[in-house]
Amino acid sequence: MNKIAKLFVTFFSAITLALVSFTSSFAKVDGEYIVLGSAISLTGKYSSNGVHTQNGYNMAVDRINKMGGVEVQGKKYKFEIIYYDDESNPKRAAQLAERLIKQDGVHYMLGPYSSGLTKAIAPVTEKYKIPMVEANGASRSLFTKGYKYLFAVLSPANQYLEVAIDLAVEKNGGKPVKIAQAFEQDAFSQDVRLGILDAAKRTGSEIIIDDKLPKELNDMAATLAKVKAVKPDVLVVSGHTKGALTAIRQISEMKVDVPMLAMTHCDAAKLSKQHGKKSEFALCASQWHKNLSYKDKFFGSGKKYAKDFQKEFGYDPPYQSAESSAALLVFKDAFERANSFDRDAVRDALVDTEMQTFYGNIKFGPGGQNVAKPMILFQVRCKGDDCENRVVAPTKWASDKFYHPIPKWSERS
C-alpha cells in the first residue's frame, strides 16, 4: 500500500468513526433533550399536509421548550425531533421508522401524515415496542389490530360523517332519509363509508346510490347525473381534497339540487377560497375548529393557537396542524406522569392519559383511538364573496344554526 492509499484509509476510518459516534449520540435522551423521531411527507403527493403536520409538531416543541420543557425526576428536559422525508411513500416510511429506531436510537415516535403511512409504520414501532403518538392516521383499521404502542389523538374515520346522517334524519322529522354516497377507494374514505352504513342502519335510512371513486378522480359527472335523477335527501362525498373540489365544481356546473351535502377535507381543500360562493352550504366534517372552547395552559384557546400559528407560519392552521401540536402535549404529559424514560412506563402512562388540550379532550380507547373528543361539523356560509366555515354541530359547540335545506340553484344568486 502506498502512502496516499494509507492516508485515504485513515481518513475514511476517521470519518466513519466520527459518524458512528455522532449517530449514537442521538440516543433517546441526549443531555437535556428528549429525542423524538418522525418520518414525514415533505415531498410527494402528501407534501402539503405533511408540512402542516411538521409545522404543528414544531410549533408545539418550541412552545413546550420555551415554557419550561418536560420535567422528569426533578430535571428539566427539552423536546427535539429528528425528521426524515418519507416521500409520501409507505415503504419508505417503514424503512425510515426502522432507521430512526435502530440507527438513531429513537425511543419515542410521532406519527407521519395519512392513514396509509401510519399503517406502514405501526408494525415497525410495535415490533420494537416504541410508543408512537400519531395525529394524522384516522383509519379505523389502525385501531382494530390490537396495537399496544399506537396512540391517536384524533377521532377515528368512521365517526367523520355519522353525525351528518343523524342531522339529516333530525331535519326530516325523525323519519329515515335517502342517502346517495360516493367514496374514494382508500382506507380512510372507506372507513368514513362504514360509518355512514352504520348510521343508515341505526336510523333505518336507505342508501340509494353507493359509488366508489377512483384514486385519480377528477370527474364525477356520472355519479352526479344519477344523483340528479334519483333525488336523495343527502349526498355524502369523501375523496380527500380532490373529491371535495371536484364535487363542488360539478355540482355547481350541473346544477344538482340536494337538500344536504356532506363532505370531508373541505378545509384542507381550501374549498371556500377556491370555489367561493359555489361551496356555500356544504357541510364538512372536521377534527377541530379554532372556535371550539377547549383550553390548555400552553396554547390557551383554539383562537389563540390559530393566531400564534398564523404569526409563525403565515397561514391559518388547518386541523392537521392543530392535532399534530396536540400530540406533543400528550407526550409531555405522559413523560411527566411516568416520571421515567422507560418505554413501557411511558407507554403505560399514555394508556392512562386523560387531559384537555386546546384541540380537544384526549383519552385513549383500547385500540389507541381518542374516545373523548367528538367530531364537529361546520357549514360553509358566505356573505357576498366572503365565505367562512361555521360550526353547526354538535350543538354544544355550535356557533351557528345549521342551514337546511340547501336552496335550489335556480334560487341562488
Binding site: G44, K45, Y46, D211, K226, T241, K242, R249, E253, K270
Partner: protein
C-alpha cells in the same frame, strides 16, 4: 353493475354529450402524441405531465387575476419552448435509438416533471374558475357546463388550424416529409434536427392548450398526468398515426366509452375500463396482424 342509465333516457343523453365533449379534448392530446410519434418514432410517456404543466400555467395566470381562458393562448406559447428545450436536452439523444430507450427517457422526464410541479405548485388539488355558467337542455334534466363546450370548441379550432398549417406552411411540409422518410428529407435539404425540435414543441404546445382547458373543466394535481398519457396512447393505437379524422373519432369514442363505463360499471372502473379496452385492442391488432399474409420483398 348499475343499469339506471337504461331506465332514464335523459341520463343517456347526458352521458353521450359529456362523453363526446370530453372525447374531443382527449383527441387534441392524442393528436399531439400521434404527430410526434409519427415523425420521431417516440412514445412520449410524459405526455400527460406536459398537459398538467400546461394546466398549471393557466392556473398561474388565473392567480394573477387574468381570466384562465387566456391560458389557451399563453400556455401553448410557453409550452412550445418547454418542448423545444426538452428536445434539445434529452429527446435528441434518444431519437434514433430504439423505442424502449425513448420510453425510458420520457418516463424519466415524467417523474422529474411531477416532482418539479409538486415542488413549485404544491401537492394541493387546484381549480381555475371560468365562471362560464351552464347550458340547460330538456327542461333542466340535461346540463352541460359551458366550460366543457368551450373546451371542445377550442380543441376543434386548434386541431383545424394545425391541419391547415401542416398542409400549407413550409415547416408543416418539412414535418410531413420527415415523417415519411427522414433520410430522404435530409438528403433533399430538410434540417431534420430542427423539424424534430419543432414537432416536439408543437406537441408540447397542444398539451399546453389541453392543460389550460382541463384547468377550467376538471381539476389539477401534479400526479394526475398518467391517465391522460394512457388515454392518448390508446386513441393513437386505435386511430393510427397521421390520421386526424380517425384520431377525432376515436377520441370521441373513448370519451363515450368512459362515460358509459362510469355509469354502468361504476366510477371506480372508469380508468380500469380504458386499460382493459387497450389490452383488448392490442390483442385484436396482434391477431389481425398474424392473419396478414407476409412475404419477403
Amino acid at each position: 353493475m348499475d343499469f339506471l342509465i337504461f331506465k332514464a333516457p335523459m341520463l343517456m343523453v347526458q352521458a353521450s354529450l359529456d362523453g363526446i365533449l370530453l372525447g374531443i379534448l382527449f383527441a387534441l392530446i392524442a393528436y399531439g402524441m400521434a404527430l410526434q410519434w409519427g415523425v420521431m418514432n417516440i412514445i412520449n410517456i410524459a405526455q400527460g405531465d406536459l398537459v398538467i404543466l400546461g394546466g398549471y400555467i393557466a392556473y398561474t395566470i388565473y392567480l394573477w387575476g387574468i381570466h384562465p381562458a387566456w391560458g389557451v393562448i399563453i400556455s401553448p406559447i410557453i409550452m412550445f419552448f418547454v418542448g423545444w428545450g426538452l428536445y434539445k436536452l434529452v429527446i435528441n439523444k434518444v431519437v434514433d435509438r430504439d423505442l424502449f430507450i425513448s420510453i425510458l427517457a420520457t418516463f424519466g422526464i415524467a417523474i422529474v416533471f411531477q416532482q418539479l410541479m409538486n415542488f413549485i405548485f404544491g401537492a394541493d388539488v387546484v381549480v381555475a374558475q371560468s365562471e362560464y355558467g351552464t347550458t340547460m337542455l330538456f327542461d333542466n334534466s340535461v346540463t352541460l357546463p359551458n366550460s366543457k363546450i368551450f373546451s371542445a370548441f377550442i380543441s376543434v379550432l386548434y386541431a383545424v388550424a394545425l391541419v391547415i398549417y401542416m398542409k400549407k406552411s413550409r415547416l408543416g411540409r418539412a414535418i410531413r416529409a420527415t415523417a415519411q422518410n427522414a433520410r430522404a428529407a435530409k438528403i433533399l435539404g430538410v434540417d431534420t434536427e430542427k423539424v424534430y425540435a419543432a414537432t416536439f414543441g408543437i406537441n408540447a404546445a397542444l398539451c399546453g392548450i389541453a392543460g389550460a382547458l382541463i384547468s377550467i373543466t376538471l381539476t389539477l394535481h401534479p400526479y394526475v398526468g398518467l391517465p391522460y398519457t394512457v388515454r392518448s396512447f390508446m386513441i393513437v393505437i386505435v386511430a393510427g398515426l397521421g390520421n386526424l379524422p380517425a384520431v377525432a373519432v376515436s377520441g370521441m369514442g373513448l370519451g363515450l366509452f368512459e362515460e358509459f363505463a362510469d355509469y354502468i360499471l361504476g366510477t371506480e372502473f372508469r380508468i380500469g375500463a380504458v386499460f382493459l379496452l387497450l389490452v383488448l385492442i392490442l390483442v385484436y391488432r396482434r391477431f389481425k396482424l398474424s392473419k396478414k399474409r407476409e412475404y419477403l420483398k
